[in-house]
Amino acid sequence: MTEKYGIIASFPDTPSFFHAAEKVRDAGYKKWDTYSSFPVHGMPEAQGQARSKVPIFTFLGGITGFTVGLVMVWWMNAYDYPLIVRGQPFFSPVFPFPIMYELTILLAAFGTLGGMFITNLLPQHYSPLFNSEQFLEVSGDRLVIAIEARDAQYDVVATRQFLEEIGGTDIEEVSA
């Protein structure tokens, strides 16, 4: 057990937790996260996170759905088995439209769901943080900031000291 995952520190209340996150952000750490059992408004900004990338997946899913609907109706009605319905043309952008937008919505929803899983690195059944007894209390009332060892600025002594300075308690090194 020589390898370490990182250092965790607990905070007594939400405001100090929130402001500590801002200080970690300002200190320039990149590989770190906050853990609480409830959402804290404004936390993404306090952590310096960029906006979610999920909309890109949604958009790509939507575009794919639109194209698939268009090509599918063209292939079925105009190419593979040309079909005359009500004397209308074999293919026109008008009548496949319901198919096109239904598939746009469906695949946009799939894109959103998939994008959420991908950007959140899910499914993830195990985290080294579970090695810490106190970390398990996060699902109760504990508020934790964890700075990971793979961060470029990570230093066992300096990071521990830094977490103490910003008001962290119960500081613990977690093994990987």
């Binding site: 404004g42 906006r51 009500r86 004397g87 209308q88 008008v94 009548f95 439209f97 319901p98």
Partner: protein, 423 residues
């Protein structure tokens, strides 16, 4: 005190709007008079388009305010007040509707604008209106007395609901009486039905009956979606101007703009959904009584593409696709100049949508040649004059109302939630 300076500035804006409005209306009425004398209908359509444009904004705001009341929405409380100010325009819009109502009563051809109003009017290839079996079927609804009664009823609903909502909301500023909020909520649950019926009848009477042969059960919903889009875009422009000028400085937050912009996105899709569904049903059924309405918006009698084809394409790509793609971006919904830009864009295309719905018509071909000719797209100086004129009067009405009440409903039970609103 800054409120004095903003008040006097508001007074100035109101006065300028009044002068500009009167000048615009005089020019537009000059065109109206010329059309009246020569039997040329286009200047009357300018008036109808301009009236429809400003009316649609006011109706949209009336809907939004009532929807917010019914759903107990807290966040838009500061925006609601601006809508209430704009709703002061309804009585003026009634007066501005009267020139159009004068045509069936005082013109030698009562059917100059709405051709079904005169049985002698000739139809392309059909004889006259009086001989038209479709008119005979529709005449219990489409006749001048009932049309007049409906027009009055429609404005009674708009003015009545708007006046009561304004009165109660303004009264809360001074008395803080909670019953005002309860009353407004109660009225809104009934008023939404009344407003919806009035708006549907208005769109059918004033726009759809221009080509009275046509059938479409989706027309009222189309106008509803158009009204809401126009109102949301106007709300963005109006509140951003007010925030710049000090009225809403520090009160209008990014979160408010973001939510209105989200609704703009939703109703952009809704407008496209409704407009396409109307087209799609008629395309699928393929019945001549219905398809002609779209045919004349695409082709002339000889089958050549006409000016409306370009307008139709402009609506698909400009009124739907462009704002839709732009509003998908988060930045468009929070960066002020981008949101305002999209709002102006939507209002411009909303105007084009009204042109597209109002102007095209089947006219008797010269020398009674077979077929028909289509009234083509055109922009006249009277369009601009009527638009600026009626708009000036609406803005004057709004500025006048702003003097009567606080810039935000200071004692509304939801005001704190609205002021502290975050995304």
């Amino acid at each position: 005190m800054s409120s004095d300076t903003t008040n006097s500035r508001g007074k100035q804006v109101g006065l300028i709007a009044l002068v500009v409005g009167i000048v615009g209306i005089v020019i537009a009425l000059f065109g109206f008079k010329q059309g009246w004398d020569s039997g040329e209908v286009r200047p009357m359509m300018s008036w109808l388009i301009a009236l429809g444009f400003w009316l649609s904004i006011a109706i949209g705001m009336l809907f939004l305010v009532q929807i917010w009341y019914v759903f107990h929405a807290r966040w838009p409380t500061i925006i609601r007040r601006q809508c209430e100010h704009f709703m002061a325009a309804f009585p003026y819009l009634l007066v501005l509707f009267l020139p159009l109502l004068a045509i069936p009563f005082f013109h030698e051809n009562p059917g100059l604008l709405w051709k079904w109003m005169d049985g002698h009017n000739e139809l392309p290839g059909h004889g006259t209106v009086a001989e038209d079996p479709l008119y005979a079927w529709k005449s219990p609804f489409l006749n001048i007395p009932f049309f007049t009664i409906r027009a009055i009823g429609i404005f009674v609903v708009f003015i009545g609901v708007a006046t009561l909502l304004r009165k109660w909301s303004f009264d809360t500023d001074t008395t803080g009486n909670i019953n005002n909020t309860h009353n407004a909520r109660r009225l809104s649950s009934l008023g939404l039905f009344l407003t919806a019926i009035a708006m549907t009848l208005g769109s059918i009477d004033w726009f759809k009956s221009l080509e009275y042969h046509w059938f479409s059960t989706m027309y009222g919903v189309w106008f509803f979606s158009a009204c809401i889009r126009a109102a949301l875009a106007s709300i963005i422009i109006l509140t951003v101007i007010l925030a710049c000028k000090g009225y809403l400085k520090g009160i209008l937050k990014q979160a408010h703009r973001y939510d209105i912009a989200c609704m703009m996105l939703a109703f952009t899709v809704f407008w496209a959904y409704i407009s396409f569904s109307q087209y799609f049903l008629i395309y699928s059924a393929n019945i001549p009584e219905e398809t002609f309405w779209y045919n004349i918006r695409e082709k002339n009698f000889d089958g050549a593409l006409n000016s409306w084809w370009w307008v139709s394409m402009g609506l698909i790509f400009g009124h739907f696709l462009t704002p839709f793609l732009l509003l998908l971006w988060y930045k468009t919904k929070v960066v002020v100049w981008r949101t305002v830009g999209v709002s102006i864009w939507i209002l411009a295309f909303h105007l084009l949508d009204l042109y597209w719905n109002i102007i095209p018509g089947k006219l008797v071909a010269p020398d009674h040649a077979p077929g028909y000719i289509v009234r083509q797209f055109s922009i006249s100086i009277y369009d601009l004059a009527a638009l600026i004129g009626i708009g000036g009067i609406c803005i004057f009405a709004m500025c006048r109302s702003m003097k009567k009440a606080e810039p935000i409903p200071v004692r509304d039970p939801n005001i704190l939630t609205s002021i502290n609103y975050t995304e």
